[in-house]
């Protein structure tokens, strides 16, 4: 087994992933498992049918405390943080003055004077610098806690059955996008009913040094047998799960060249909440209408679309694939692309240049997958 490259960052579970046979790759400067021996398809399907456990400790956590916490954050994000109540989480975005996306994030309201921002791993430093650069005189204290926390995502229909015996938090009572502070296996933790898979599930935040204890405990608790038990899941399954569930991935569907409105994230743009960075640009774009829009597509001919491949309508290049992959649960080949609004209707036929071959696809409604409730 090869050692991790010395210039890569590691989560507290690095040795654990290696022990479990995780195939380690460089993911945005982090040494992370892309899959375990079960393989991506099995990990993906098991998460939909039973449960999967993901190490997402590489995500960043930024702590904002003080009387101005909500007002300060609300000037930087597109969603309305003032609408949060204690114990609630909100999907939001840090926006540029142009209304494009610095990062997408979760804003957790711990208390009226205490928010926790959970940001993407690859953008943590950028976000931290951006947020700090707007701090001038507001009564808030900012702290980059990314290295202090581990984050484990337990996802799938069996998540509650696995986690409940380990925690004093009444999981049934936590609503979607809410969280509770309590203990997991005796370890102080934040248990949040959130995730990035389209399944029910929880994300557990705890002290980094407790990562291995919690990871092992959850895998043990979910060990219901070779076919029904929980599986540790790598980043490849995390990506295909979020894609099937129609969720954007920073650096793919959204970045500093795409606005929230183009990305169908108008629902997290609260233009009337008061001023925030990018509000004016987004209001203008909303009034004028977007010229292109993110849509999902499904291959109708044999072939798999991949990231960055060119997309054509009637022989004209209209865009490129932002994420393209087989969808292991749906057993289809799917993807996302930005297309001009006049071609953004469901049923629109498009062609994807798959290594020199024009392969037919059509625009479909997203999410591609929606769990039965």
């Amino acid at each position: 087994m090869s050692a991790p490259a010395p210039d890569l960052k590691q989560t507290p579970l690095n040795a654990t992933h290696r022990r479990l046979g995780g195939r380690m790759v460089d993911f945005g400067g982090w040494d992370m498992p892309v899959q375990y021996p079960a393989g991506t398809v099995e990990e993906h399907v098991r998460t939909r049918t039973h449960a999967g456990l993901f190490d997402v400790s590489h995500m960043g956590e930024i702590d904002v405390r003080g009387p101005d916490a909500i007002a300060f954050v609300n000037c930087l994000v597109s969603n309305d943080a003032s609408k949060l109540i204690d114990g609630q989480a909100q999907y939001s975005a840090l926006t540029t003055p142009e209304g494009t996306v610095i990062d997408d994030l979760l804003v957790y309201r711990v208390a009226q004077d205490h928010l926790l921002l959970v940001v993407n791993a690859g953008t943590t430093d950028k976000d931290w610098n951006w947020i700090k650069s707007h701090h001038s005189g507001q009564a808030v204290e900012l702290k980059n806690m990314s290295a202090d926390y581990c984050q484990l995502a337990l996802q799938g229909p069996d998540a509650i059955r696995i986690l409940q015996p380990l925690t004093n938090v009444p999981l049934d009572e936590i609503k979607y996008y809410h969280f509770c502070e309590g203990n997991v296996d005796g370890v102080p933790a934040i248990v949040s009913r959130t995730g990035y898979t389209g399944e029910d599930g929880f994300e557990v935040y705890a002290a980094a040094e407790k990562a291995e204890q919690l990871w092992n405990k959850i895998l043990d608790a979910g060990n219901f047998g070779a076919d029904d038990g929980i599986l540790p899941c790598g980043l490849a399954a995390r990506n295909t799960l979020r894609l099937e569930a129609g969720m954007a991935l920073y650096g793919h569907e959204i970045d500093e060249t795409t606005t929230l409105l183009e990305a169908n994230l108008g629902w997290i743009c609260k233009l009337n909440k008061g001023d925030f960075v990018g509000r004016e640009a987004l209001a203008r774009q909303k009034e004028e209408g977007v010229k292109r829009r993110l849509v999902g597509f499904e291959m109708i001919e044999r072939g798999i679309a991949r990231d960055n491949q060119d997309v054509f309508v009637d022989g004209q290049r209209v865009g490129r694939v932002t994420s393209g992959s087989p969808a292991p649960y749906l057993k289809k080949n799917i993807g996302f692309v930005y297309v001009p609004v006049e071609h953004a209707n469901e049923g629109q036929e498009i062609h994807i240049d798959v290594r020199g071959r024009a392969v037919g696809a059509q625009i479909v409604r997203t999410p591609f997958y929606k769990r039965e409730r």
Partner: protein, 130 residues
């Protein structure tokens, strides 16, 4: 440890070749299928298509990656394994058997001599892993 049958020839692109007269059967190695992960898609050419050695004749795809297939020998395809379209998982299950990809009538059978032996290929993959 990857399985490397003694009686086959190997390329540095991780294809194997089984020679029977002037017919070469070609597939990907156990090492290759293992590095690729779950194979979900295989594209093979039609009988009659001609390829020069080192040319791409198709592709194998996993959830995460695309891997092009290169023929180690020149010639015309006499048969392609169509069953892999519906059962790509065979590539993971039986890379040297059911998951053969094409049979080529070799135009330059001598090309086989420049391929790696099983022992050489094993050394080659070890060097790649380290």
């Amino acid at each position: 440890m990857a399985n490397v049958p003694e009686d086959l020839h190997y390329s540095k692109d991780h294809e194997w070749v089984r020679v029977d007269g002037d017919i070469a059967t070609i597939g990907i190695t156990d090492y290759a299928q293992n590095s690729l992960g779950d194979v979900v898609y295989v594209e093979v050419p039609k009988p009659g298509d001609e390829f020069a050695a080192q040319e791409s004749f198709g592709s194998v795809e996993s959830v995460k990656a695309v891997s092009e297939l290169f023929t180690p020998v020149s010639g015309a395809v006499v048969e392609a394994n169509e069953t892999l379209q519906d059962e790509p998982e065979k590539v993971n299950q039986d890379p040297y058997g059911d998951a053969w990809m094409i049979r080529i009538r070799m135009s330059h059978p001598g090309e086989v001599d420049s391929l790696l032996t099983a022992a050489e290929y094993e050394d080659f993959t070890k060097a790649e892993t380290d």
